[in-house]
C-alpha cells in the first residue's frame, strides 16, 4: 500500500487524537509519541506535526514493520 498523501486527513486525525492506532515500527512509534506530546504543548503546530508523521512513513516505507503499519492507516 502507498503512503497516503500529506493532505490526507489521516495525519491530522492521528496528531489530534481523533484516531488512535497501535503501530509496530519503532521509528513510527517514537515520532507518533513525540507529535502527540507536542500538539499538547503547541496546538498551532498541527499541520507541521501531521507533515512529520507523514514523512516518517514515506522515508521508511520499505521497512517490514512500516508496511504493516501502512495497512492500518486507511
Amino acid at each position: 500500500m502507498a503512503v497516503p498523501s500529506k493532505l490526507h486527513p489521516i495525519w491530522s486525525q492521528l496528531v489530534s487524537g481523533k484516531k488512535h492506532l497501535e503501530f509496530e515500527s519503532l521509528a513510527v512509534k517514537i515520532v507518533f509519541g513525540r507529535v502527540r506530546n507536542e500538539i499538547v504543548r503547541n496546538p498551532a503546530a498541527g499541520p507541521q506535526l501531521a507533515s512529520q508523521l507523514h514523512d516518517v512513513f514515506a522515508t521508511n516505507e520499505t521497512l517490514p514493520s512500516v508496511r504493516k503499519d501502512l495497512l492500518k492507516l486507511v
Partner: protein, 329 residues
C-alpha cells in the same frame, strides 16, 4: 550471531583482509590495529554466548556482511551531528558511537528528535564508556579506523548502504513497564530536576522519591506512541535536592516509575524474539541492566554485544536492549 570476541591480533587480520568492522573494547587494544574500514568505541563489558564478562584483553567484533556494497565513515562534532539523518544512505542504516559524558553526548541526548529528518533512516549505536573502576580517571573514546584518529568527544558514524534485496530494521527490548504509581511530569527539559508535577501538583521530586521509598535502580518510563522509553536515575543529591538522570526528561511527557518484571534473564528469554533465521546483526545492552540484573556470568541466549553507557535507537535510550535485524525484502 557468530562468536565475536577476538584478541587484537585476530582483529588486525580481519582488517587487513578488507573486512568492514564495528569494534568495541578496551582503549589499549585499539593501539595495535592497522588502518582500515572500521569504527570503534571503548568499553570492557560484553554479553557473550558464554555470559556477561568484563575483559580488557579481547574485543567485540561485528563484521558487516560481504553483500554490503559501501560503508562510509564520518566524524561529527556536537553541531554537525544534527546532519546525521540527512547524510544516511537512502537504503541501509547508520551506526553511531559517542563517548559518554562528552558535549556531543549531551547535545545528541537533548536535540536528536529535532534534527532534520529525525527517524527517516535506521540509526542505532551506543555510548562508549570505561571500566566502572576508572570512571573519572579515564575518558571514553571513539575511533576512526580509516584515518587512525581517536576522540573523547564527537560521534563516529558508519553509514552503511544495503543492496536492494536487503532491509535493516532497528528495534528495542525494554524489560520495564510503567508502574501503577503516580503520573510524573517535569517543568522543563533537562538532565536534572528539582520539582516535578506529581498527578498535576508541583512538589519537590527528591522529597517525593524519599517519601515513596522509590528504588531508583528502576527507571522512569514514558509511553511514546507505544514505545516504552526509559530515563534512568543517576542519583539524588540530598543537600541540593537535585535529582539527576542519565538521559534528559522532557516537559509535557507523562512518566511513571517503572515496574520490574521479575528476574531479568527469565523475562529476557520470554520477550526477546527468536533469531532462527540469523537476521540479528547487532545488539547492545545497558551497563545498568548488567549491574542491577547481575548479568556478569549469566547468559542472554544468542543475543550478545557490548554493554554500554547508553543505547541509541534513533535517540538516546537508557536501560534498554537495542538490536538491528537485516532481512530479505
Amino acid at each position: 550471531m557468530k562468536q565475536p570476541m577476538h584478541e587484537p591480533a585476530a582483529v588486525a587480520e580481519l582488517i587487513r583482509a578488507g573486512k568492514k568492522l564495528l569494534l568495541a573494547g578496551d582503549e589499549r587494544l585499539f593501539g595495535s590495529l592497522p588502518r582500515g574500514s572500521w569504527v570503534g568505541g571503548t568499553i570492557p563489558y560484553f554479553m557473550t554466548d558464554k555470559g556477561g564478562i568484563n575483559t580488557h584483553d579481547r574485543m567485540y567484533v561485528t563484521e558487516l556482511p560481504p553483500y554490503v556494497p559501501e560503508a562510509a565513515i564520518k566524524y561529527y562534532d556536537e553541531k554537525a551531528i544534527a546532519n546525521i539523518f540527512g547524510e544516511a544512505k537512502p537504503h541501509g542504516f547508520s551506526f553511531i558511537m559517542i563517548p559518554a559524558m562528552s558535549k556531543t553526548h549531551v547535545a545528541f541526548a537533548v536535540n536528536a528528535p529535532t534534527y532534520p529528518g529525525f527517524a527517516s533512516r535506521p540509526l542505532l549505536g551506543w555510548i562508549t564508556g570505561v571500566d566502572l573502576a576508572e570512571v573519572g580517571k579515564k575518558l571514553p573514546r571513539i575511533f576512526n579506523g580509516e584515518s587512525g584518529e581517536s576522540y573523547s568527544d564527537g560521534a563516529i558514524v558508519m553509514h552503511v548502504g544495503l543492496p536492494d534485496h536487503k532491509v535493516a530494521e532497528v528495534d528495542i527490548l525494554n524489560m520495564f513497564k510503567p508502574g501503577s504509581g503516580e503520573t510524573i511530569e517535569f517543568l522543563e527539559d533537562g538532565f536534572t530536576a528539582t520539582d516535578a508535577l506529581i498527578e498535576g501538583r508541583r512538589q519537590s521530586f527528591s522529597a517525593y522519591l524519599r517519601a515513596k521509598s522509590v528504588d531508583i535502580r528502576l527507571p522512569l518510563v514514558a509511553d511514546f506512541g507505544g514505545a516504552m522509553i526509559n530515563t534512568s536515575f543517576q542519583g539524588v543529591d540530598e543537600s541540593t535536592h537535585i535529582v539527576s538522570f542519565y538521559a534528559p526528561v522532557f516537559k509535557g511527557v507523562k512518566y511513571k516509575i517503572a515496574a520490574a518484571e521479575g528476574d531479568y534473564v527469565d523475562s529476557f528469554a520470554r520477550k526477546m524474539p527468536h533469531d532462527e533465521s540469523g537476521q540479528l546483526f547487532f545488539s547492545c545492552n545497558c551497563i545498568l541492566n548488567y549491574i542491577h540484573a547481575g548479568l556478569e556470568g549469566r547468559k542472554t541466549g544468542a543475543v550478545t554485544g557490548p554493554v554500554t553507557f547508553g543505547e541509541i535507537a534513533y535517540q538516546l535510550l537508557n536501560q534498554t536492549l537495542v538490536y538491528l535485524r537485516i532481512s530479505d525484502v
